[in-house]
């Protein structure tokens, strides 16, 4: 048949695939921010395990407790002689223990701010302290290279766990067993102690000073952080390294679990909190905080994320109330939304169907009676006399159809969309009409072409096409360079853009060369250097 004219279709390029996963979208919902100014850098933040999930911020010589409901500073515990560390809640949220730089461990009643116990025994600063799962004991780690276990009811030291050769800066209790405890030490080791024998059953090498330790609820894994690396050890497999996560650009300082205990939050000096899936250890999201992180925590009701920053600030990020009310989750989000939208759709369909059925017949004599049937659509089986529909064409298509190549290119350029311009240029090349389209241009018509070149010559998706155009422009107009000032300046800008791109490519080539030297094998893909016009 005599074919219809086929319009030019701009190409669609693939988007970035990882931009919005459900999980990333979920973590991005923590948008509301509340900052707490504190006297010194925040060494520890911890949420109370019971409602309303108060937040204990340890900074300077005090522990500040923020109310979970109002998000305001509730009370300040300041009975420390020196810098306090590691304000940590008991499992019922009533007691709080904190060590200090003078080697004294104090246990407080959170409500009354009263010091219940004051335990001395460490010669160095107590950098980490934590209640046991039953709440009767506290384990402390200190800069005097010792770890001590305290019995709270009697207030006596129960045991000293030996073997550490440097500062002990991290610890983690084990949920599945009251007898196991993990410590992290600056001698690069993560140790797992059995409190019954008081011996280390595992000594796992981290290769960097250990800043944070975490034993996830299953008990099969041990996670340590230090340097730029997070290591995951599989305890059931004799402590072999399961994963090495190096997703932070700077040192990793803290570890935490989220409310569901399926995600691992790691914070570092690169001002990021990365959310890892504990099954796959893939990073599902990364959350930016304005400052170097020293500690991180997530509230058990999923409503808040807290980060203690080195810049003597504590930032709490809150999720919007609606999301909390909906019980959103990274997995459940899409499902709930979809279910809801399906319900509304169904509802609409039903109501519409009812409306249709209940459409009243017009009363004889009324206006509707006389106009009835006017807007009826043909039903199946009716013979419809077709109306020749005018095809709506884009302006550049109309010119292409008339073989007015120059005008078609002008129209494409006025759209200010590079995909359209590229599609038209490619069609012109196929028609062998690019030369015709580019020739005989006045300065006013030439400058848009040069602008387009300048903007897109470094875009890898269009660079090749733009170079073809650029070469042809130079071929056609090299004789008139210097006649018009505007054209010359536009050309110079294109030239600069090309030079920049060439420089960038060369730098990359140098980098590839250096990397090849470092790795020892030639890189698989070579970068093609674009020759400047």
């Amino acid at each position: 048949m005599a074919q219809e004219f086929l319009p030019v279709v701009p190409k669609r390029h693939p988007g970035l695939p990882l931009r919005t996963t459900n999980e990333a979208r979920y973590w991005a919902r923590y948008q509301l921010r509340e900052d707490f100014e504190l006297p010194a850098s925040v060494s520890h933040v911890e949420f109370s395990p019971t409602a309303p999930y108060d937040l204990a911020i340890t900074a300077g010589a005090r522990v500040t407790v923020v109310d979970g409901k109002t998000n305001k500073v509730n009370r300040v515990i300041g009975s420390f002689k020196d810098v306090a560390y590691s304000g940590s809640f008991k499992h019922d949220g009533r007691l709080l223990c904190a060590g200090s730089a003078d080697g004294v461990l104090q246990v407080f009643d959170v409500q009354k701010r009263a010091t219940l116990r004051s335990l001395r025994g460490h010669s160095g600063a107590i950098r980490t302290s934590q209640f046991s799962m039953d709440g009767l004991r506290v384990l402390t780690g200190s800069d005097d290279k010792t770890v001590k276990l305290w019995d709270l009811p009697t207030g006596r030291e129960m045991a000293e766990l030996s073997g550490h050769e440097d500062y002990v800066r991290a610890q983690s209790r084990v949920k599945v067993s009251p007898h196991l405890w993990a410590t992290g030490c600056y001698d690069h080791k993560l140790r797992l102690f059995d409190l019954r024998t008081q011996k280390a059953i595992f000594t796992l090498n981290h290769d960097y000073p250990v800043e944070a330790v975490l034993i996830p609820p299953g008990g099969g894994l041990a996670i340590s952080a230090g340097g730029q690396e997070v290591r995951v050890f599989e305890l059931f497999a004799g402590g072999r390294i399961l994963q090495r996560l190096s997703n932070h650009a700077k040192a990793v300082t803290c570890l935490a679990l989220d409310a569901t205990e399926t995600r691992l939050l790691t914070g570092g000096l690169d001002e990021q909190v990365k959310v890892h899936d504990l099954n796959t250890f893939d990073v599902g999201a990364s959350i930016y905080f304005k400052g170097q992180l020293l500690s991180v925590g997530a509230s058990p009701d999923k409503s808040r994320l807290a980060a203690g920053l080195a810049s003597s600030k504590c930032t709490v990020k809150l999720i919007d109330k609606k999301s909390v009310a909906m019980g959103l989750d990274w997995a459940g989000e899409s499902l709930a939304d979809r279910r809801k939208s399906e319900e509304t759709k169904l509802f609409r369909e039903i109501t519409r169907g009812q409306q249709k059925e209940h459409k009243r017949q017009p009363r004889p004599g009324s206006l509707r009676y006389f106009l009835r049937g006017k807007n009826e659509n043909p039903i199946a089986g009716d013979v419809v006399i077709g109306e020749k529909r005018r095809v709506k064409r884009k302006s550049y298509d109309m010119y292409l159809r008339k073989f007015m190549y120059g005008a078609a290119l002008d129209e494409a350029l006025t759209m200010k969309r590079i995909d359209v311009t590229a599609a038209v240029v490619e069609d012109l090349i196929q028609r062998e009409g690019l030369c015709i389209a580019l020739s005989n241009r006045t300065p006013e018509r030439l400058i848009p072409v040069l602008r387009c070149l300048e903007r897109n010559v470094s875009d890898p998706r269009y660079a090749e096409l733009m170079l073809v155009v650029a070469n042809m422009v130079l071929d056609l107009y090299s004789k008139v360079i210097g006649r018009w000032v505007e054209v010359d300046t536009a050309l110079a800008r294109v030239h600069r853009a090309v030079q920049r791109e060439t420089q960038a490519k060369n730098d990359l080539m140098c980098l590839v060369g250096m990397m090849e030297l470092a790795i020892g094998t030639p890189a698989a893909d070579t970068i093609h250097v674009v020759n400047g016009a």
């Binding site: 048949m1 005599a2 086929l6 490619e426 090349i429 196929q430 028609r431 090749e464 093609h528």
Partner: protein, 827 residues
């Protein structure tokens, strides 16, 4: 064995020869289209359901008696027509039953034929450098004039005969003038490309090479009653000029009333000149250059022959295309001169057993054509990239830069649900800059036949050119290879999500061809001179850091051009062809089964059986017309089953499944768009016969016979061949003997086992004894078994059975292997 692969069936052919225009017959109820070497008759009369008469176009019969292409047809009235061909005959047909009433053998190729109005027992034909008038029923030449005309036309409703040659029109007014050899040489100032004579007032419309139509008024009267030869210059005649066409006017026709002049050219626009008012109407985008226009006697429609090998019917009332008959498309539908030179379409196989005989023609611009080879019918154009096909103006002043936009490669998945294509836009934007964009498209076809682009990848191999494209036999995995040696595996992730899951390569060698084994466990790739075999995992791709098994290094370092496994799942053989040889390799032992040296141009393997075909170049560079032969081999024997020689150049070939679904027939596509079907049995021909009520043609086998005759001629060559063969046997024996030691050391049996066997093998080689062969095989069986235990027990078992059945190698070779093409090459 004697009659295998002998059945020949012709089809297709060019419908758009320069002079072979369609002819209306039976008062416009039928139209006769010359198509290749046959005439196809289509009927218009039967109204369809909607009562629309003109659009119901059905083939009534195919008349095929000519043995070469038909050059022209003319209607004689009373349901008879005459056709002329380059085979030197003119044939008179009775259209009612399709029988030949008379065959006139002239002895020289006939270019054109014309019938004078009112004198339908005589025909004017252009033979060689003569114009002849023949009496049809007697077959006698009545008169002849030594005029080298390439085209003749007869004026409607007048007795004028026109012969056209370059810038002149020779006008004969009446047959008396022809007998007296008196004519007027009417001179135009440019080369004439089309003429038409007005039915009433005797004016002559002349279209020329620069696109101007000149109407010379009153020419018939001016040229009438001339005695002797006279020359009349166009400038001296009253004339009117019409110019719209940008390139040469290829066709001109007055309508029956004479008030409208139709013209067409390479622009694929039908122009309708209203002579009384001077207005023009256009019908653009016809699909190809308009080569001829023939108005229907009733005046209601026009038949246009188009450059894309189609005949289209334009309704005069609505001025739109209402029906069309399509043949196999040429690559360039606009420039007729380039057809003969351009490398034409490849035929790609459609292995869909539900539709046997359907082949996809790959290599066309923007589309893939589905053509039913058995029924000789166009089925559909599958649009791959929706682009306007345009006539690019080419003449001597502005030579074309050579823009091509072609679908180059295609493959179908085994279940027919995916069609993967690669189309290439190649444009020279300046002297040394070529802009090339390759697009790999994954098209999904749902059960209703709906076609959708699922995914599109631009430049799938970066800067390198894609050389081959194959689909995994079971899984949704596609492998592509590139000129820079990379092999990419593309996998289907979700419904329409294709991604490149792995990229491999062998030492950066250019990879020219890929083939999956039938069970999908191996991928054979021709990497330069090396055949690399990759083991695939259950996902259909190679493992990370997988190393290929290097099967062979070509002995003379020739680059392998194509590789293929055999069609049956049992035999572990792989066939490779380079430009100068064919090798059949055993995958398990890694040794050459047999090889032969020949100038291979094209290679195709049967997907269902154990045959493969090779097109062999026979012509030397000095010869102007290319000559080739097609040899069909069975994979187990180095002796070709059949050798055919063709006068025309064969462009492409492919094995297409026959209706029973368990066998294939070989389809060859010749340069004149004609295809030839060779098959083992008669089923193809029966299919054709069933679809048509008309007669089927007997195949002619003279080509084959002549080939045989030539074979027996050269005895000298045969002798030298035999010596060669002896050497071959010795070499193969030593190779076989050494093969025992090729195993890795830990699987090698002790010397007490291998030593005697080695000696035995060497001895077997020196004498070509039959008995020893049987002893040697079981020994080797042990070795092979141990080697292939962990790989393919089943295959190796089959292979061994086969190797026992195998006849002695030397006997095979000696037996009439002195085929003509090999000896020719030697000389």
């Amino acid at each position: 064995m004697k009659d295998q692969w002998s059945t020949e069936l012709y089809g297709g052919g060019s419908m758009s020869g320069r002079t072979a225009s369609p002819v209306w017959s039976g008062n416009g109820r039928y139209v006769i289209l010359p198509s290749g070497r046959s005439l196809k008759m289509y009927g218009f009369g039967q109204p369809d359901e909607a009562g629309n008469q003109i659009s119901s176009l059905g083939r009534v019969k195919t008349l095929s008696e000519h043995i070469e292409g038909i050059t022209a047809v003319a209607d004689l009235g009373k349901f008879r027509c005459i056709s002329t061909s380059t085979d030197g005959t003119a044939r008179l047909w009775d259209l009612s039953d399709g029988s030949i009433l008379r065959t006139i053998d002239v002895g020289y190729p006939i270019h054109a034929v014309a019938i004078q109005e009112g004198q339908r027992n005589r025909a004017y034909i252009a033979v060689g450098s003569e114009l002849r008038r023949i009496e049809i029923m007697k077959g006698r030449t009545e008169a002849s004039i030594g005029l080298n005309c390439n085209f003749i036309a007869a004026g409607p409703k007048s007795d004028t005969i026109l012969g056209i040659r370059r810038r002149s029109v020779y006008v004969f007014s009446g047959n008396v003038a022809f007998e007296n050899r008196s004519f007027v040489k009417f001179k135009h100032n440019r080369r004439i490309t089309a003429v038409s004579l007005h039915p009433e007032d005797g004016s002559l419309a002349v279209g020329d090479e620069i696109g101007v139509i000149t109407v010379y008024h009153n020419v018939v009267k001016l040229c009438g009653h001339v005695k002797g030869r006279k020359t009349l210059k166009g400038e001296n005649v009253s004339q009117s000029k019409m110019h719209w066409h940008a390139s040469s006017v290829l066709s001109l026709a007055y309508t029956n009333e004479g008030n409208i002049l139709l013209s067409g050219g390479s622009e694929a626009v039908l122009v309708m000149w209203e002579l009384s008012t001077g207005r023009k109407r256009f019908l653009p985008r016809i699909g190809g250059a308009i080569l001829s226009i023939s108005p229907r006697p009733s005046g209601t429609s026009y038949a246009l022959t188009c450059g894309d090998n189609a005949v289209r019917f334009v309704s005069a009332a609505s001025f739109s295309v209402v029906a069309q008959v399509r043949g196999i498309r040429p690559v360039d539908a606009f420039h007729q001169s380039s057809w003969s030179r351009s490398k034409l379409a490849k035929v790609c196989l459609l292995p869909d057993l539900k539709s046997p005989g359907v082949a996809l023609v790959v290599g066309l611009p923007n589309v893939i054509q589905a053509y039913d080879m058995w029924r000789d019918e166009h089925l559909a154009d599958i649009v791959i990239s929706a682009r306007n096909e345009l006539f690019a103006f080419k003449d001597r002043a502005t030579p074309s830069k050579g823009t091509t936009c072609k679908v180059q490669l295609a493959c179908l998945s085994a279940d027919g649900s995916f069609l993967v294509t690669l189309d290439v836009l190649r444009a020279k934007t300046s002297e040394d800059v070529e802009f090339v964009t390759e697009t790999l498209r994954f098209n999904s076809i749902d059960p209703e036949g709906k076609f959708r682009v699922a995914a599109k990848v631009e430049n799938p191999h970066g800067g390198a050119y894609t050389t081959s494209l194959v689909f995994h036999p079971r899984l949704n995995v596609v492998a592509t290879s590139s000129s820079e040696g990379s092999i990419n595996f593309w996998k289907l992730r979700k419904e329409s999500d294709w991604y490149c899951s792995r990229s491999i390569g062998y030492r950066g060698f250019r990879c020219s061809s890929l083939c999956f084994s039938k069970d999908g466990s191996l991928l054979a790739s021709a990497c330069g001179p090396v055949l690399a075999l990759w083991t695939l995992n259950e996902d259909g791709i190679t493992d990370i850091d997988a190393d290929p098994r290097i099967l062979c290094h070509s002995p003379t370092n020739e680059y392998i051009t194509s590789v293929s496994f055999t069609g049956s799942t049992e035999s572990p053989l792989v066939i490779t062809s380079s430009s100068r040889s064919v090798h059949v390799w055993n995958v398990i032992t890694g040794s050459v089964w047999w090889s032969a040296r020949m100038k291979v141009r094209e290679f195709a393997a049967d997907p269902l059986g154990e045959n493969f075909a090779v097109i062999v170049n026979l012509s030397t560079s000095s010869e102007s017309t290319p000559q080739c032969a097609v040899a069909i081999f069975e994979v187990s024997k180095p002796v070709p089953k059949r050798v055919f020689r063709f006068r025309h150049d064969v462009l492409a070939m492919s094995f297409v499944p026959v209706e029973t679904g368990d066998q294939s027939a070989l389809v060859l596509l010749a340069k004149d768009l004609e295809f030839i079907v060779l098959s083992e049995n008669d089923s193809v021909r029966q299919t054709r016969a069933r679809t048509e009520s008309g007669n089927t043609a007997d195949a002619e086998e003279e080509l084959d016979q002549s080939e045989d005759a030539e074979m027996s001629d050269d005895d000298d060559h045969k002798k030298s061949r035999e010596e060669d063969v002896d050497l071959n046997v010795a070499l193969s024996a030593s190779r076989r003997a050494l093969s025992a030691f090729e195993l890795p050391s830990h699987t090698l049996p002790s010397l007490t086992v291998t030593g005697p066997k080695f000696l035995m093998d060497m001895m077997t080689g020196s004498r070509d004894g039959d008995g020893d062969e049987d002893e040697a095989v079981p020994l080797r069986e042990d070795l092979q078994q141990s080697e292939s235990d962990d790989e393919k027990d089943e295959i190796s078992g089959k292979n061994l059975r086969r190797s026992k059945q195998r006849q002695p190698f030397s006997e095979d070779l000696l037996k009439s292997f002195a085929d003509a093409f090999a000896t020719k090459q030697k000389s």
